[in-house]
C-alpha cells in the first residue's frame, strides 16, 4: 500500500537528523571507544609475498616478550573453526581469517599476536619469523582467466570462480537485423570506498553464560549467524551489539574474518580481545577492496543510434578469496540495460581469483562499474553516428508512459520519468550556456568537455542475484523489521535491528512512525537491541533502508494505530468504522466530542483490562517483518527474475576543462538531477548524493589500489591512495524530481548510492568530450592526470 504524496506532515520536511547531536560533541560510540576491563590487543603478521607456501612459523621470540599472551597461526584456527561462508558454490576455495599453509596475497594475515597493548603486539609480531617458499603468482584478471596461469587455489583446478553466460531475448537475431554494430573495451580499476574508520571488533566470550559478545564496526547481513557458524556455536550464543556507531562503511565493513579471529581468541584465551585494524592492515589485508572489472561490450543499433541489443562480458578480478564479491557481477543484472530500452542482452559474468587482496562489497555492489560501461556504449554509438550524445540518450531512454517497464533480464522497473529529470537539469545548468562556456574555454587554448551520464540506482535490495549465480541457493526471503512499543507512560519506542554508519536510520524511523501515528517524531525514541533480542535485519545494504526499514516501521506503526482505534472504539461503544484516529486520539466520527485521548488509550491497554476489547492482549507492542516488495520468486530456467524492486534515477551534467600541458582536469560546473521518489528526509538524501559524487570523483580521478609487477600493493597508505579533500570536490547543484514508487509505503526509493552510480561515467564522458578532438579517448578509470597528460602530448605529436 502507498500513502498519497503531497500532504505528509513529517515525511519530506526538512528535519534535523537526531543522530547528529551525539557526533558533534564527540560522543559517538565507535568500536574503538568501547572498553571492557582486561581487554588484550591483536596485531597481525602479514605475508610479504603474493604467493608462498608457509613452511614454518617460529613464535618463540615473540612469546618471550613480556606482555605477549599468544601467537595464533592459521592451522590452529582452521582446526577449530569452519571456513567462512562463501556465496558461490566453491568448496575448494575456502576462506579463513589466517592463511593456512599457503599465503595467497601480499598482506594476507598469517598470524595473530595477542598482547597487553597494541604497541606490544606489534613489537611481538616483528619477532615472529616465518619461513616462506615463494610460489608463482598471477595478478592480472585476464591472465588469471586463461588456462595455464598459476592457480591461486590448487584444489579448485583453475582461477575461475564463476563463468556464466545469460541470454535474454533474441540477441543474435537482433544483432543480425541491426544496421550497425560496434565493440569496445573499458576497464574499471580497483578502488574502494575506504572509510576513515578502519574495521574494528571487540569480542568477549563469557564461559559461564556461554555467550559471545561482539561489538563491531560492521555492515553485514547475517553477521551474527556467520560468526556462530564459523565458531561452531549455536546462533543463540552470539550476541552482536547493534548500538555501535560505525565510522562509515559504504559496503565494505564485512569484517567477518576479523570477528571470527577475535572471537576465537577470546574463547581460547579467556579475556576480551580487541582487533582494531591499523591503516596498513586495512589497506593490504582488510579484504575491503572494490571491483576490478574489464568490460567487453558490443552493441547493435540503427541509424538513429537506438540500441537494440547488447552483449556484455564482465570479468572481475576478485582477489585471492571470495566472500560475496563475485555477486557484484550479479546485482547489476537488476538494471543491466540502464535507463534504456535495449531489447535483448547477452551477459557473461566471470569472476576470477588472483594473488591480490580479497574484494568486498562496495557501494552499489557492482552497479557503478556497470553503469560506466553502459554509458560508454551510448557515447560510442553517438560518436560513431556523429550524433549529439544527449539526443542519442533521449532516443534510447525508457519513456514515462512505459512504466512499469520489464527489462530483458526479468526485472520490472517500478516508475520513472527520466526525460523530466533531464529537462530540469538542462534548465538549471543552462545547457546552451554551458556549451558556449565549453567553446569559450576551448578558444582560450584549454581542452574542455561536457560530461553526461544517465544512470539508475536499483534500490530496496534483494539477494535473488545469488540464485542466478549459485543455483544451490534458494533464498528468496529478504527482510527488515521494526518493533514499536508504548509504555505505561505513553512513551513510544521503536526498536531497529541493525547497525548504522551514518545513514540516519533513527531519524528515518522516528519520522515514519511519527507520520503514521500523527505525533511529533522527536517524541519517538529509537533504540537498537542486541541481536539476541532482535528481529531479522539484512543490514543497510543495497540502498534499502528507506524502503525496507521505512516499510517495516510503517506497518508496525499501522498495527499500533489499529489497536488504538480498536481500544478506543470499544471504550466509546461504537463500531470501529465510526472511529476516527487523529494524532493519537480516537473519536466518534458521528459525535466528535466523544473521544479518548492517547494517554487514556494507553492506560486502558496497560492497566484497565476490564475496558479492553475481549480477547485483546494487554500492553502495546507491535512488530512487522517486511519482505522485499516484488520479491519471493525463484528465477526462470533462463535466468530471469525480479531482483531489486525500486529504481531511482540520476542525471549528471558537468563541464570540465583540462590544461593540455599538465593534463589536470578541473570540474567547472556540476549539476545532478536526482529522482529517488518521495524523500523522507531531505538533509539525509542530499548528503548521500554529495557523498556519492565525492566517492565517484575519487574513483574516476584519484583512487587506485595499484600493484607493482612483484605483487606488492604500492598504494598502501593515504600517502599514495589519494582521497578527495574539500578542494577536489566542486560545488554541486542538485535538482530534485519525485516519481513515487508504487511499491513502497510513501513512494520512497533508495538513495544510499546516489551520485556514486553516475559520477565516474559522467567525468569520463566529460574528459572524452574534451579530448575527442585530438582523436583519443580514455578507456579506464581512474584517469591519472599524468597519464592523461602523456596521452594528450602523444596525440599532439609533442614529446
Amino acid at each position: 500500500m502507498s500513502a498519497p504524496a503531497s500532504h505528509f506532515r513529517f515525511v519530506s520536511s526538512d528535519r534535523r537528523v537526531r543522530e547528529d547531536r551525539r557526533f558533534v560533541v564527540g560522543k559517538g560510540r565507535f568500536a574503538a571507544d568501547i572498553v571492557m576491563p582486561g581487554t588484550r590487543h591483536v596485531s597481525l603478521l602479514t605475508s610479504p609475498y603474493p604467493a608462498a607456501r608457509i613452511v614454518g612459523i617460529d613464535k618463540s621470540a615473540a612469546l618471550a616478550l613480556p606482555g605477549v599472551h599468544y601467537v595464533l597461526d592459521g592451522r590452529e584456527l582452521a582446526a577449530a573453526t569452519a571456513p567462512l561462508v562463501a556465496g558461490l558454490d566453491t568448496p575448494n576455495v575456502p576462506r579463513r581469517p589466517l592463511a593456512v599453509d599457503v599465503a595467497r596475497y601480499a598482506g594476507e594475515w598469517v598470524a595473530a599476536v595477542v598482547a597487553d597493548t597494541r604497541a606490544l603486539a606489534e613489537d611481538a609480531a616483528e619477532l615472529v619469523t616465518v619461513d616462506y617458499e615463494p610460489l608463482p603468482f598471477v595478478l592480472d584478471g585476464e591472465e588469471a582467466y586463461a588456462p595455464g596461469s598459476p592457480r591461486v587455489h590448487e584444489a579448485h583446478g583453475s582461477n575461475v570462480l564463476l563463468d556464466r553466460t545469460f541470454v535474454w531475448g533474441e540477441v543474435e537475431k537482433d544483432f543480425a537485423e541491426s544496421r550497425h554494430r560496434l565493440a569496445f573495451k573499458v576497464r574499471w580499476g580497483r578502488s574502494s570506498t575506504v572509510p576513515i574508520e578502519t574495521f574494528g571488533v571487540l569480542a568477549s566470550w563469557d564461559p559461564w553464560r556461554e555467550i559471545l559478545d561482539v561489538f563491531a564496526s560492521i555492515q553485514m547481513p547475517r553477521f551474527p549467524d556467520q560468526v556462530a557458524l564459523a565458531l561452531k556455536l549455536p546462533g543463540s550464543a552470539v550476541r552482536v551489539h547493534n548500538d555501535v556507531d560505525v565510522g562509515g562503511s559504504y559496503g565494505v565493513k564485512r569484517g567477518i574474518k576479523h570477528a571470527v579471529l577475535a572471537s576465537f581468541l577470546s574463547r581460547r584465551l579467556g579475556f576480551p580481545i580487541r582487533l582494531m585494524e591499523d591503516r596498513l592492515e586495512n589497506m593490504r589485508g582488510g579484504d575491503a577492496h572494490g571491483p576490478e572489472r574489464n568490460f567487453d561490450v558490443e552493441v547493435a543499433f540503427d541509424d538513429a543510434g537506438v540500441i537494440r541489443a547488447m552483449k556484455m562480458r564482465a570479468l572481475d578480478n576478485v582477489g585471492a578469496y571470495a566472500g560475496r564479491s563475485p555477486f557484484q557481477l550479479g546485482k547489476p543484472i537488476s538494471a543491466i540495460v540502464g535507463p534504456y530500452r535495449i531489447q535483448s542482452v547477452q551477459y557473461q559474468a566471470i569472476a576470477v581469483t588472483s594473488n591480490k587482496t580479497t574484494q568486498e562489497a562496495v557501494r552499489a555492489f557492482g552497479q557503478s562499474p556497470t553503469n560506466f560501461a553502459i554509458e560508454r556504449a551510448i557515447e560510442e554509438v553517438a560518436w560513431h553516428r556523429g550524433l549529439d550524445r544527449l539526443e542519442v540518450r533521449r532516443r534510447n531512454l525508457i519513456k514515462a508512459e512505459q512504466f512499469p517497464y520489464l527489462i530483458p533480464s526479468g526485472t520490472t522497473y517500478d516508475s520513472g520519468d527520466y526525460d523530466a529529470v533531464i529537462d530540469k537539469v538542462l534548465a538549471q545548468a543552462d545547457y546552451t550556456g554551458l556549451k558556449a562556456e565549453r567553446d569559450r574555454l576551448r578558444g582560450e587554448g584549454l581542452l574542455a568537455g561536457i560530461g553526461i551520464a544517465a544512470c539508475l540506482e536499483p534500490s530496496g535490495a534483494n539477494s535473488t542475484f545469488e540464485l542466478l549465480l549459485n543455483p544451490k541457493n534458494e533464498t528468496t526471503t529478504y527482510t527488515e523489521s521494526c518493533r514499536i512499543t508504548v509504555d505505561v507512560s505513553g512513551a513510544v519506542t521503536a526498536n531497529i535491528h541493525t547497525v548504522s554508519a551514518g545513514q540516519g536510520h533513527e531519524t528515518l524511523v522516528g519520522t515514519v512512525v511519527g507520520e503514521v501515528l500523527g505525533i511529533d517524531p522527536d517524541r519517538i525514541r529509537v533504540v537498537r537491541p542486541d541481536t539476541l533480542s532482535s528481529l531479522p535485519s539484512q543490514s543497510p545494504v543495497g540502498s534499502r533502508m528507506a524502503i525496507m526499514l521505512g516499510g517495516a516501521a510503517f506497518h508496525a506503526a499501522q498495527k499500533l494505530k489499529a489497536r488504538l482505534v480498536a481500544i478506543g472504539a470499544h471504550d466509546l461503544g461504537i463500531p470501529e468504522e465510526r472511529a476516527s484516529y487523529e494524532n493519537g486520539n480516537v473519536s466518534d466520527r458521528a459525535a466528535p466530542q466523544n473521544k479518548r485521548s492517547f494517554m487514556e488509550l494507553v492506560t486502558i491497554a496497560h492497566r484497565y483490562f476490564h475496558r479492553l476489547p475481549p480477547g485483546t492482549e494487554p500492553n502495546l507492542a507491535f512488530s512487522h517483518v517486511i519482505q522485499v516488495p516484488m520479491g519471493g520468486k525463484l528465477p526462470t530456467p533462463d535466468g530471469r527474475v525480479q531482483i531489486y524492486p525500486c529504481f531511482s534515477f540520476e542525471f549528471h551534467l558537468l563541464l570540465i576543462s583540462i590544461d593540455p600541458d599538465l593534463g589536470k582536469p578541473e570540474i567547472r560546473r556540476y549539476v545532478i538531477g536526482h529522482d529517488c521518489g518521495t524523500v523522507i528526509n531531505p538533509k539525509i538524501v542530499r548528503g548521500m548524493t554529495m557523498g556519492g559524487i565525492a566517492h565517484g570523483i575519487g574513483a574516476a580521478l584519484f583512487e587506485e589500489f595499484a600493484y607493482n609487477p612483484e605483487g606488492q600493493l604500492v598504494a598502501q597508505s593515504f600517502m599514495d591512495y589519494l582521497l578527495p579533500s574539500a578542494h577536489e570536490v566542486p560545488e554541486v547543484e542538485i535538482v530534485h524530481h519525485v516519481t513515487p514508487s508504487p511499491h513502497t509505503v510513501f513512494g520512497q526509493k533508495g538513495s544510499g548510492e546516489s551520485g556514486y552510480l553516475g559520477a565516474p561515467a559522467a567525468i569520463t564522458s566529460a574528459i572524452n568530450d574534451a579530448i575527442r578532438p585530438l582523436g583519443i579517448a580514455v578507456n579506464s578509470v581512474p584517469i591519472k592526470l599524468a597519464q592523461l597528460g602523456d596521452m594528450i602530448a602523444a596525440a599532439r605529436g609533442k614529446p
Binding site: 537528523v17 557526533f23 558533534v24 560533541v25 571507544d33 562509515g248 591503516r279 548521500m688 597508505s717 579533500s725
Partner: protein
C-alpha cells in the same frame, strides 16, 4: 621507560605516565578517556585526530604525549558550553547535517572553531581551505561547508565582548 608528563586539556591539568612512543591521540583516548579524537590513519593525512594546540588545529597522531606539555590542548569535549548544550558551531553542523557517520566530525568542528576565531567572515574558499586537511568520506563536504558558513553568519549576528573568543578556546581565561 615511562615518563611523567603534565597535559593541560580543556582547561584542566592531567598528570600521566606514558611511554615516550604513546601518541597524544592515544593518550587522550586511553588515559583521559576523551574519545572524540579519532584514529583514521595514524600517519598524518586524514585529520580525524585533530585537536587544537593553543587554538591551532594539529594532528594529534603526529605528536607524542611527551611533547605535548606546556600547551593549551582543546578537544571536542571542551567545546560544549555545558551538558546537553551545543556551541554555535556544533549547532550549525546539526542544522545543515554536516556529517553522516560522525567520525571526522569532531576534527571538522575544531577546524571550524579555529577558523572562525580568527576570521569571522570567511569566504567559501577560505572555509574549504580550512577543512582541506580533514578528509570526509561520507558527505562530499557540501553540508560541512554550509555548516561553517551558517555558524559564521550566526556568530556575526551576536553581541560579543570585545577581544574575547570565549567559546572558541574553552579553558582559557
Amino acid at each position: 621507560m615511562p615518563m611523567r608528563v603534565e597535559l593541560n586539556v580543556n582547561g584542566a591539568s592531567h598528570a600521566v605516565e606514558v611511554e615516550p612512543r604513546m601518541s597524544l591521540l592515544d593518550c587522550l583516548r586511553e588515559r583521559l578517556f576523551l574519545n572524540g579524537a579519532h584514529a583514521g590513519c595514524e600517519h598524518g593525512v586524514c585529520g580525524a585526530c585533530t585537536v587544537l594546540i593553543d587554538g591551532a588545529p594539529m594532528r594529534s597522531c603526529l605528536m607524542f604525549a611527551v611533547q605535548a606539555d606546556g600547551y593549551a590542548i582543546t578537544t571536542i569535549e571542551g567545546l560544549s558550553p555545558g551538558p546537553g548544550e551545543l556551541s554555535p558551531v556544533q549547532d550549525a553542523f546539526c542544522e545543515t547535517h554536516g556529517m553522516q557517520c560522525g567520525y571526522c566530525t569532531p576534527a571538522m568542528i575544531l577546524a571550524a572553531h579555529a577558523l572562525l576565531a580568527g576570521n569571522p567572515a570567511p569566504t567559501r574558499a577560505e572555509i574549504v581551505e580550512a577543512i582541506s586537511g580533514n578528509i570526509c568520506r561520507c558527505t562530499g563536504y557540501a553540508q560541512i561547508v554550509e555548516a561553517i558558513a551558517l555558524a559564521a553568519e550566526r556568530m556575526r549576528g551576536v553581541n560579543r565582548p570585545e577581544g574575547a573568543d570565549a567559546s572558541a578556546q574553552a579553558g582559557q581565561a
